[in-house]
């Protein structure tokens, strides 16, 4: 029973961290141009997001 006291919060916090990261990526426009991102990796010059 004692183990739950930190295991359950740890599990939930990890999950929340993942959810938060996804929400950030979504709001930041990381998914706006998936096919473009796949091609841009082949370009040499510096690449600053708009």
């Amino acid at each position: 029973m004692d183990d739950f006291l930190f295991l359950v919060p740890v599990a939930l916090l990890l999950g929340l961290a993942g959810l938060g990261a996804f929400m950030w990526a979504l709001g930041n426009g990381q998914y706006d141009d998936l096919s473009g991102a796949a091609e841009r990796i082949l370009l040499d010059d510096k690449d600053v997001p708009l």
Partner: protein, 751 residues
């Protein structure tokens, strides 16, 4: 260069210097401190090299702060310092990319989709965590742990229902308020009741809580909802990314002699408009001065270009081909022919909105049955045992087990797979309802110009023409944008065009081209203009050297690739006819060649009337058309398709847009739609079958949260697996892929 060599051809052929500054400024918007943003639609961006070329070209312009390409939407976003707009479009054209101003203001940002994705993410997070806790409860946790885990689950589930459940609750509430039910009503009731009962169980230290069921249900249903939305949005963006053909404004000559670029809706009757070659007529107008040829294929379906002279009346939307014109507006935009078309279309659309989607029809039957079953279960257990708690628990278990999880996925999943298969074949689907309607059709109506034919004239009997004369003609024709010139150029293999060095080439709009080579004067154009002694003025072109004929060229509108094959397939199952606005002779020739019934000279309203006439005979019509004049008919027909080259308004009215040149797209789309309809039926039967097994078990009270979780997940997985059968395993066959060109909007014939 990679895939983009084809784009270079456009740069050569459309090298005109239209003053687009006014248009660019009009469509840009201020985004902050003296910075303006312009969105350009660049349909020919294909690969990484294109991204680099476009961005490098735009960034090199003075005044540009940043330029960024979005490959998915084929758009370039440019931020520039306020002032005169840099020449974006000319720069891109020189780099080999045709660009169009994209009106960002016209697009409402798609908040619905990001709301769905966020809701899905939250539901996914909650479902996985609650499931984790539930599994330990089901594996036999002791009472104290169980209560703790139930409490934690409740704490996760409550905000999740509030956040992710909104999508369904809102829609259900809207339906109930209007006295209707839809799929979301049983979903909302089931989810809320399950949550409420679980909360009560948690408070009273009960054994069974359905938190996992209510959240997992939301998660599965949101997947279906998101897929449905994604499919529609993808097609919509792709259609929007195609060239914008309607003119946004025009250069107006002011009384004081200055020239101002004005938006279309501010142009009033009586204003003088300066129209460059290559522009579309913005409002109904009359030619004041200048000679040119006009192309009214999109507007009236007429395939041959017409010569204009002072006094000719022009309808809004026709394309000015060869020479600059001075026009006087005869009507404002809202009174122009174009606006009439929009009104006709709106009227036609309202008559079609009676169609109800399969899922909605299914839920109309489903919801009352489910609710009645749950209620009867409650009453039955009350009568049998008198135990209120038990009766309520079992009734809610029935609601949970019948919650249309599989139903909610059954239809969108199939339609998403179908949309993907269509997309692989170069066909864009607007929404799932269109797919259902397409599967029902049993009659097809084709437009002629631009639909059965490619709308691009082709030189006929090229072999009979003296090769030397053809080379000279092609060398002259390179300098013009008249469709016949383009056809001559295409007919002559590129490597054999003589490097003819003319001293002077002049285009006489409405007549032809004149080239001086040494002491000789060549003329390519109408017979009565090119020849010194000509009495005939037949269609086609004449190449003349010092007034004596060298060769005659005849043209015809070429059938689209695959037309014969497609019609041979379609004729077996469908009633086909042609409705065209073109002249009887032109339509008759094509109809005769294809062996179809036809009506020529149809006005837009006539097409609509003919379609409703067919539909009153109990048939369901597929309209395939491209022109402005087809738009009302596209909106009126049971289902509709348009090629990517169609007028904007037509593309927006059509349910499906096909990108490749081949007309094979039509039988293929119908085939996929019918296959999808079969799978949807199968999936609905599977979902009902699942209920037939699960509901009796639930009514008898054997359903625990564990059973509910297994039953719901497995039924969802079965319908998803069945839907996946439509995807992937059949790629488009090779012959079709090679005959259909991969580059939309670039239908240059290499005959």
């Amino acid at each position: 260069m990679t895939c983009c060599t084809s784009a270079g051809g456009i740069a050569l052929t459309v090298a005109n210097d239209i003053n687009k500054d006014g248009e660019v400024l009009l469509a840009s918007r201020l985004v902050g401190d003296g910075i303006r943003q312009t969105d350009l639609s660049v349909p020919s961006i294909h690969c990484g090299a294109c991204i680099h070329n476009v961005e490098a070209a735009l960034n090199a312009l003075p005044g540009v702060e940043t330029a960024r390409v979005n490959l998915s939407t084929k758009r370039a976003t440019i931020r520039w310092h306020d002032g005169a707009p840099p020449p974006f479009i000319e720069t891109l054209r020189r780099a080999g990319y045709e660009a169009h101003v994209y009106d960002a203001g016209a697009e409402v940002k798609d908040t619905a989709f990001s709301e769905l994705i966020r809701a899905l993410a939250v539901a996914g997070f909650a479902a996985s965590n609650i499931m984790l806790l539930s599994v330990s409860v089901w594996s036999g946790a002791d009472a104290a742990t169980r209560d703790l885990f139930h409490a934690i689950s409740a704490a996760i589930a409550l905000p999740t229902l509030a956040y992710s459940g909104r999508v369904f609750f809102r829609s259900a509430w809207r339906a109930l308020r209007h006295g209707r039910t839809n799929m979301d009503v049983p979903i909302s009731i089931g989810v809320l009741l399950a949550f409420g009962m679980s909360l009560y169980e948690t408070a009273t230290h009960g054994q069974h809580a359905y938190f996992d069921a209510s959240v997992t249900l939301l998660f599965f249903l949101l997947i279906g909802r998101t897929l449905d939305h994604l499919m529609r949005e993808k097609a919509r963006t792709a259609v929007k990314g195609l060239a914008n053909l309607a003119s946004r404004g025009a250069l107006v000559l002011q009384p004081d002699g200055s020239r101002v670029y004005m938006p279309v809706n501010e142009i009033a009757a009586g204003m003088t408009i300066l129209l460059a070659a290559g522009e579309r007529v913005p409002v109904d107008a009359q030619v004041l001065a200048g000679h040119s040829d006009i192309d009214s294929a999109l507007l009236s379906g007429e395939s041959a270009p017409l010569a204009t002279a002072p006094g000719t009346a022009l309808q809004a939307g026709v394309l000015n081909l060869t020479g600059p014109l001075t026009l006087v507006a005869t009507a404002a935009a809202e009174d122009s022919a174009f606006a009439d078309m929009v009104r006709l279309m709106e009227a036609a659309e309202t008559s079609r909105s009676t169609y109800r989607r399969i899922a909605d029809r299914a839920s109309q039957l489903y919801a009352p049955v489910v609710h009645a079953t749950a209620f009867l279960t409650f009453v039955g257990w009350m009568v049998a045992t008198g135990d209120l708690h038990r009766a309520v628990t079992i009734a809610i278990a029935v609601l949970i087990i019948t919650c249309p999880c599989a139903l909610g996925l059954a239809v969108p999943m199939v339609q998403v797979m179908a949309a993907r298969r269509l997309f692989e074949n170069g066909i864009l689907l607007k929404d799932g309802g269109a797919l259902e309607r397409l599967a029902e059709i049993d009659a097809i109506v084709f437009d002629k110009t631009g639909t059965l034919t490619s709308g691009v004239p082709r030189l006929i009997e090229a072999a009979a023409i003296d090769a030397k004369a053809l080379q000279i003609a092609a060398a002259i024709a390179v300098h013009s944008r008249h469709p016949y010139s383009r056809a001559l150029e295409a007919a002559c293999p590129a490597n054999r065009v003589q490097p003819l060095e003319p001293d002077a080439i002049t285009e006489f709009p409405g007549c032809g081209m004149e080239a001086r080579v040494g002491s000789h004067l060549y003329r390519l154009g109408r017979a009565n203009w090119a020849l010194t002694d000509s009495t005939t003025d037949d269609a086609g072109l004449v190449l003349a050297k010092d007034g004596a004929p060298l060769a005659r060229f005849q043209f015809e509108d070429r059938l689209r690739g695959g037309t014969h094959g497609a019609l041979a397939t379609l004729r077996k199952g469908f009633d086909i006819e042609i409705l065209s606005g073109d002249h009887d002779a032109a339509v008759g020739r094509i109809a005769g060649e294809l062996g179809l019934r036809y009506s020529a000279g149809m006005p837009p309203a006539g097409k609509v009337a003919r379609i409703s006439e067919i539909e009153t005979n109990g048939r369901k019509v597929l309209m395939v058309g491209d022109g402005l004049n087809d738009a009302p008919a596209l909106a009126a027909a049971h289902a509709s398709m348009a090629p990517a080259t169609a007028a904007d308004i037509g593309r927006n009215a059509a349910d499906l847009v096909f990108l490749h040149e081949s007309l094979d797209a039509v039988p293929r789309a119908i085939g996929i739609a019918r296959e999808a309809a079969r799978l949807v039926r199968q999936n609905l039967i599977l979902a009902v079958g699942y209920n037939l097994i699960a509901v009796p078990v639930a009514i008898m009270g054997y359903v625990t949260p564990l059973v509910a979780a297994i039953a719901m997940s497995s039924s969802s997985i079965i319908v998803i697996a069945n839907a996946l059968r439509l995807g992937g395993h059949r790629r488009p066959d090779k012959s079709a892929a090679s005959s259909a060109k991969r580059t939309p909007l670039n239908i240059v014939e290499h005959a």
